[in-house]
């Protein structure tokens, strides 16, 4: 089976420039600079590369919407979102640890495409080791002439700098990320304008996830059509899954887009200790649960959606028969309540009350009316808030209540008298 991003992960020194170069590294950048912007964009168009941070927006479309220099003279930026913080997701950490130059190369190609001379990698503060690895990789690439002035004598210059976050999940949402970088609290902006028109300090900005940019050198080298064919009709290429929870071998596994969910779980060694599978959270805790009967779901951007869920950022959390779904719902809503930025009332209050009600169930004080409250209140949050975090509040709980009603009946019984 073909892998792209993890192909050379068995090379112990892949993170070093010398090894990366020996394996053909930075040849994609060179090729892109030689072929020129429009042919590069044509390959991106054909690739069907989707944003792998969770939103799945077409990458080429995003690049094309960056306001051109002719319309808005002045600097434009590329920002790498390495603020991975959703429970269940850790692929960016692994990508940066093992193959930092792959990211840097993809970033430079994207910067060239939109003519950005400055780029930033925003990494969560807890990834201190990965921050060090990136700093070293940037220094080495700069010393070798892959970052800086007139790359490969093309006349295109670009520098890359690093910035660290300070522990807020919401910073990983593109517009909140930009606010964070500007030294403000991480309150999402209400688009439009989108960052491609008005991003960092009001300048046109392309914000991309680590995994998305890491795919770009492969598209340039092998061609957009080739990349698209690896995946499904609307989701090109491969995708990384972070598999955790009740499995034998938690870790990152690369599959072509559209691989069945059961193959991904099998790659991680299957359910731990031979227990029975109860459910799977397919894309990180903000994505609604799938049952053991839904393991044939093709894992591209369309497959989980047909089952009322999302591919998200590929954070597969496996739950065995011992899992208490009220505990799962409480854990997730508590996370959202803690990480709600507080800007939109439905999210701030809704997440708080979801946590409180679910906690009551866990502590033995739940009643059947609580279930009705969760159903009613939950429907008044999604679509009434600015960002994707708020849209998620209650959604996961309702999916759990629908698919595992007995777990909730046990914790929220009918009480008489």
């Amino acid at each position: 089976m073909i892998t792209l991003l993890t192909e050379h992960f068995n090379e112990p020194k892949l993170h070093e420039l010398e090894t990366y170069r020996r394996l053909g590294g930075y040849e994609g950048l060179k090729k892109a600079l030689v072929m020129g912007r429009e042919p590069l964009m044509a390959e991106m168009d054909k690739s069907n590369l989707r944003g792998l941070g969770g939103a799945g927006f077409g990458a080429a479309m995003k690049w094309r919407t960056v306001t051109p220099e002719a319309k808005d003279p002045g600097p434009r930026y590329v920002v790498v979102n390495c603020d991975e913080s959703e429970p269940g997701c850790f692929k960016d950490r692994v990508l940066v640890t093992r193959s930092p130059h792959q990211l840097i190369e993809g970033l430079l190609i994207a910067a060239y495409a939109i003519d950005a001379r400055r780029a930033f990698i925003f990494i969560r503060g807890e990834y201190e080791v990965q921050h060090g690895i990136l700093r070293q990789a940037l220094d080495d690439a700069r010393a070798a002439g892959f970052i800086g002035k007139s790359l490969f004598d093309s006349g295109f210059s670009c520098d890359i700098d690093l910035m660290r976050g300070a522990g807020a999940y919401i910073s990983g949402l593109d517009t909140a990320l930009l606010e964070t970088m500007e030294g403000k609290k991480a309150w999402p902006r209400q688009p439009p304008p989108f960052p491609t028109a008005s991003g960092l300090m009001g300048r046109p900005t392309l914000v991309h996830n680590v995994e998305t940019l890491s795919m770009v050198p492969h598209i340039v080298l092998q061609g957009g059509v080739w990349f698209a064919r690896l995946g499904t009709a609307k989701s090109g290429g491969t995708v990384l899954f972070s598999v955790s929870g009740h499995v034998e071998r938690p870790g990152v596994y690369e599959f072509p887009m559209g691989a069945p969910l059961k193959d991904i779980i099998a790659a991680a060694g299957g359910v731990k200790a031979g227990k029975k599978l109860k459910a799977v959270i397919p894309g990180g805790v903000s994505t609604p649960v799938l049952t053991a009967e839904e393991l044939d779901t093709p894992m591209d951007f369309e497959g989980p959606r047909a089952k009322g869920s999302f591919l998200g950022a590929g954070g597969v959390i496996v739950l065995d028969e011992s899992a208490d779904m009220v505990m799962v719902a409480h854990n997730i809503e508590r996370f959202l309540a803690h990480e709600s930025c507080g800007q939109c009332t439905p999210c701030r209050q809704g997440s708080f009350w979801h946590e409180r009600i679910l906690e009551r169930g866990l502590n033995g004080g739940g009643t059947a009316e609580d279930i009705a409250t969760l159903e009613r209140a939950g429907e008044n949050i999604t679509g009434k808030v600015i960002c994707a975090l708020g849209d998620t509040v209650g959604v996961v709980t309702r999916a759990l209540m629908k698919k595992f009603p007995q777990d909730f009946k046990d914790r929220f019984p009918q009480r008489h008298g």
């Binding site: 600097p75 991975e84 913080s85 959703e86 429970p87 269940g88 997701c89 850790f90 960016d92 950490r93 400055r118 930033f120 969560r124 503060g125 807890e126 990834y127 201190e128 080791v129 700098d161 910035m163 660290r164 976050g165 300070a166 522990g167 807020a168 999940y169 964070t180 970088m181 500007e182 030294g183 403000k184 609290k185 991480a186 300090m201 972070s242 598999v243 955790s244 929870g245 009740h246 938690p250 870790g251 990152v252 959270i281 805790v285 954070g315 959390i317 739950l319 899992a323 505990m327 799962v328 854990n331 997730i332 996370f335 803690h338 990480e339 930025c341």
Partner: protein
């Protein structure tokens, strides 16, 4: 009198100059202050407001929003335990009780001698190595009672 040494002032000054816009260095400067003082005090906020030429409220906003910054000093060693779903499935609640017992404080508190502070955190991005710990900015996976004892012994 400034709360910073001349060398520290130079480091903070450098954060105002590193990025295309001075304010882009603000979060890194706050991280630096938190590391030195183990908290961000009123005086620190005043100093940064003058240095970055922004209203004090801008500094206070960032210093109170982000979990990395604290108003009261943390212990000399800051221990965080992940309470994300995957780490919970891997036993992080047991590790929480283990840490509370070993340290003699509740989650969110600092030991009387100021050596350790212990907090639970949201996802640390180490779901494949749960339960995950973060000890003084360093991720540690697969926490066990034995590992916690060993780490505590190594910290001076």
């Amino acid at each position: 009198m400034s709360a910073f040494t001349p060398e520290q002032e130079k480091v903070l000054q450098a954060w105002t100059e590193r990025y295309p816009y001075p304010n882009m260095g603000l979060l890194e400067a706050l991280r630096q202050v938190q590391e030195w003082h183990r908290c961000v005090t009123d005086e620190d906020e005043e100093y940064l407001a003058k240095l970055f030429e922004v209203p004090r409220s801008r500094i206070h906003e960032a210093a109170t929003f982000f979990p990395s910054f604290t108003a009261k000093p943390t212990g000399r060693h800051r221990i965080g335990l992940c309470r994300g779903l995957s780490c919970c499935l891997a036993g992080s609640q047991e590790m929480c009780r283990c840490l509370e017992k070993k340290l003699g404080v509740r989650e969110g508190e600092t030991t009387a001698d100021g050596k350790f502070s212990f907090e639970t955190t949201e996802c640390l991005g180490a779901c494949d190595h749960g339960p995950a710990l973060i000890v003084n900015d360093e991720l540690q996976g697969r926490a066990t009672e034995h590992l916690i004892g060993k780490l505590m012994g190594e910290m001076k």
